[in-house]
Symmetry: C2
Subunit: 529 residues, 2 copies
């Protein structure tokens, strides 16, 4: 009578445990009696339910139809890295298959400048809505308009959440107690879900100044004289600072769920964190840094199975694969030296600049060389690929979590054989590679691999060292998808050829990618555009 | 030339990334050039290294020979739950295979009372070293003795760490800035590892009072009149409070790594958290609660494979297994109702007590009924076991992480067959079931399963709902081992028969266990002693 699990059932996950409010009022599943569950791993955890009328439920495969929802409300002065945090969080949650969207009040304000008809406030139409005067806390008309814009933006978020969105992020300064109360009340009237306030505080003047300069290339200032722009932006920040009220202990009285990130996660304060999703967000936000470093990624060298097109298995390298492995060791050694030289050159320049401004200053000591890690899977073809890398220079580890997707019954078969022997399975996979789980004990889907790799992603965010990861096609796609913010539909078809090395460098506004291809003729790597 | 991975290689994990200090000075492996690596999953991550002299390294299988070390230093007034936190953290880390030990200053002090010869302070020998006077901050002799005892205890910890320990926990009040500086300096002189201060703060008077009463049954007061004891203990706390200096922002200047837990994790402040191990500790500490609830655990009903002794596979239930499944549904429904009745009875008693002390008080509303979750693995035998449980009453989920240990090549074989066909493997497993990994693609060890189940353990700690988990022999052993603090050597041999239900109730000082056995004759469950 009750619904049995179907193998390809994908994203019918659970929802949050919040006591009495047992039923998800706002989802498409409101006709069902769906229990709110605590654990939420979209696509991994499978929910059993039936219609309240006793019929079996056919789960929608559309993402976000059920499951927990969360509204994240940002708090903080301009130039404190809110947008950085917001983009990163969105990228991570999207990668984990939570449908996530950012609602930016600044963009709405700029749209209003363009259309001038969204809200009619005649006395303000003459003012540019990013000039400092617009942000003067004593400018009451402007304040009211800013509140209305914040709510306007919030309404868009709420609409989106009611149409299946999972995590909506309200990206604005929300810098007073009153504004936050307004926002919270507004959400609680219209949406049944948890709200997490995330405040970004930065006391480090250098970081704030750097953030301000980044802003000048942004949309508010693109046609403005840079000096005038910086000046105006500084005034805007001063105006915000006048009225800024950090999240306070008084706000804790109302059981507000919040997280303060101080100086890029150097200090973190978390209050009343409830639910799996909020906990994951905070764990993620606690674990990132802005240190310059390189993450090198590649697949193993060509294996004997690659030649005949067999999937899975535990083959050794082909002759070609062994040549790649030899060359890889030389290449990565060279890159390690180049990075160190760059680091020393930068240090020298910094010391010289400091000495010019203050000749009596004691020069900072040379920074230590970064560790360089090498991670492979436990499979022979990745272990053999790092065979020539010197463990005296590199810390080499073999990690089960980096193993290739496990193809269950189809291990060591070719796609052609699968197509001929199991045409239904072959087509099911073709139609939905992301959700398709290989049959047989232990068979995995892309989603299974995402959740298996998740702790390594958090670890990569936490690390400040350089690293080379030698892994497999599916795992490489999944890691690249995280760093490059690839659409989930595109992940299973990303081209990641053998004998190609990717270098990722996390930067304040995204990840810089360079690509190198092994060239057999020259027995060296060529940089691709 | 370089060492290849051996399949049973167990605990040769990495160490922390802390910049220049590349080599682990104090471990047994100091002869090796071992790179400090960031990720640390004992037994899962495998490190490649060789002797500095070029010989291949045979890794010690002894736990903790290499890898990161951490000293946790507790801070907080008496009766603020320090011992609770310390025991829990030790249990969790030990379960994750980090060799962890608690060094309690109170126990050392009590030993001194007994032997009176550890430190000779004649003027104090007359005083009982738990009487309130001993804790008076103006009692300088006693203060010096307390400092010396704290360092004495710390030296024991340092010795133990230098002999292979991984996480040493200094369990004392450490309630002044000076004391913490003394401790930190002392560690840094003698040990090269990170130090994490964990401060427990509790402003909730009810909790503190309850903790104080618990103390009276402890070793300091066991032969004392209860009223006198409570009085003395209260005075002791007052004396501590006089001198107590919570971890302050000034201490942040020296880059102190700390975590404050306020009111049982309601609020958490983390500062300068570095390294994988510290991050995991804090994530764990952020995710627990003291709410009364029940965790029910059982294996699936007997399967057709169980009858013939086949391991792994995806068999259905036998007729006997199906009878168990039917009875289980009735039993768990009954337990759900019983828990609810208990909850309501307690509520009623609370309301009556309150009304007696204040007849005008408005009675608190009836608490909502707890959600009751049911988790199974993705294997048919667990799904069939919950077939009769009503999804209108229970939130049912199927989770891959709860699947049985994957036996790789030996799936669907009997132990007898393995013994006959692969005697070497059979013996290797018999000699070290914990570290033995089944051969073949995807084959797992107990340690692999521990790391796979880890996120579910954190989730169980976070949840406040009731739950029934229907899983498999190895996974059940591993979950029980966590809650019941079972020695790692004993885990693989724990008897966990079919058709037996375990009920775990987390309590302030450990986990209460009750056991129920399915009786075929009466078709019901009998409670075992």
């Amino acid at each position: 009578m009750f619904l049995n699990v179907r193998r390809y059932l994908s994203n019918d996950s659970d929802s949050e445990d919040d006591g009495a409010d047992k039923y998800n009022k706002y989802s498409e599943l409101q006709r069902f009696k769906v229990h709110r569950c605590s654990l939420d791993l979209p696509g991994i955890v499978q929910l059993q339910a039936r219609y309240a009328n006793g019929n079996e439920a056919e789960f929608s495969t559309q993402q976000g139809a059920s499951g927990p929802k969360l509204v994240v409300v940002m708090v903080g002065l301009p130039a404190r890295g809110k947008s950085y945090i917001v983009k990163k969080l969105k990228r991570y949650l999207t990668w984990l298959q939570y449908d996530t969207k950012i609602f930016n009040v600044g963009n709405l304000r700029r749209n209003m400048n363009a259309t001038k008809n969204l809200l009619e406030v005649p006395e303000l139409l003459g003012q540019r809505r990013h000039s400092a005067a617009f942000f003067d806390p004593d400018n009451n008309d402007a304040k009211n308009l800013r509140d209305r814009m914040a709510l306007e933006c919030l309404d868009e978020l709420i609409d989106w959440m009611n149409n299946g969105g999972r995590v909506g992020i309200h990206d604005a300064t929300n810098s007073t107690v009153n504004r936050r109360k307004l926002i919270l009340d507004h959400i609680q009237q219209k949406l049944s879900c948890k709200v997490l306030f995330v405040e970004s505080i930065c006391n480090d003047k250098k970081t704030v100044e750097a953030n301000m300069r980044l802003k000048l290339s942004g949309p508010d200032y693109k046609n403005m004289d840079p000096d005038e722009a910086l000046n105006d932006f500084r005034k805007r920040v001063v105006n915000y600072e006048k009225a800024y009220e950090p999240i306070s202990e008084e706000e804790e009285q109302s059981n507000m769920q919040y997280c303060k990130l101080i100086n890029v996660g150097k200090k973190v304060i978390a209050h009343n964190i409830q639910g799996y999703l909020s906990g994951q967000c905070i764990f993620y936000l606690m674990n990132f840094n802005l240190v310059e470093r390189q993450i090198w990624l590649t697949r193993h060298g060509e294996s004997t199975d690659n030649i005949i097109g067999r999937i899975g298995g535990n083959a050794c390298l082909s002759a070609k694969g062994r040549r790649f492995a030899e060359c890889l060791a030389k290449f990565i050694s060279k890159q390690k030296i180049a990075f160190r030289q760059q680091q020393l050159a930068k240090h020298k320049a910094d010391v010289e600049a400091e000495q010019q401004s203050d000749p009596s200053a004691i020069p900072a000591p040379e920074p230590p060389e970064k560790n360089f890690h090498v991670w492979t899977s436990l499979l022979q073809r990745t272990i053999d690929t790092v065979e020539h890398i010197d463990p005296k220079e590199f810390g080499i580890m073999h990690i089960r979590f980096l193993n290739e997707i496990y193809a269950g019954l189809y291990e060591e078969m070719t796609y052609r054989e699968i197509e001929q022997l199991y045409p239904n399975e072959y087509n099911a996979r073709k139609n939905n590679k992301l959700y398709y789980r290989y049959p047989g004990m232990g068979g995995e889907s892309y989603l299974d691999v995402i959740h298996r790799v998740n702790p390594l992603i958090v670890e990569l965010e936490r690390m400040t060292d350089n690293i080379l990861i030698v892994t497999h096609q599916v795992v490489l796609r999944i890691i690249l998808a995280y760093f490059l913010d690839v659409d989930k539909e595109s992940v299973p078809d990303m081209p990641v050829p053998l004998h190609t090395i990717y270098c990722l460098e996390p930067k304040p506004y995204g990840t810089k990618l360079t690509k190198w291809r092994y060239d057999e003729d020259t027995n060296w790597f060529l940089e691709e555009e």
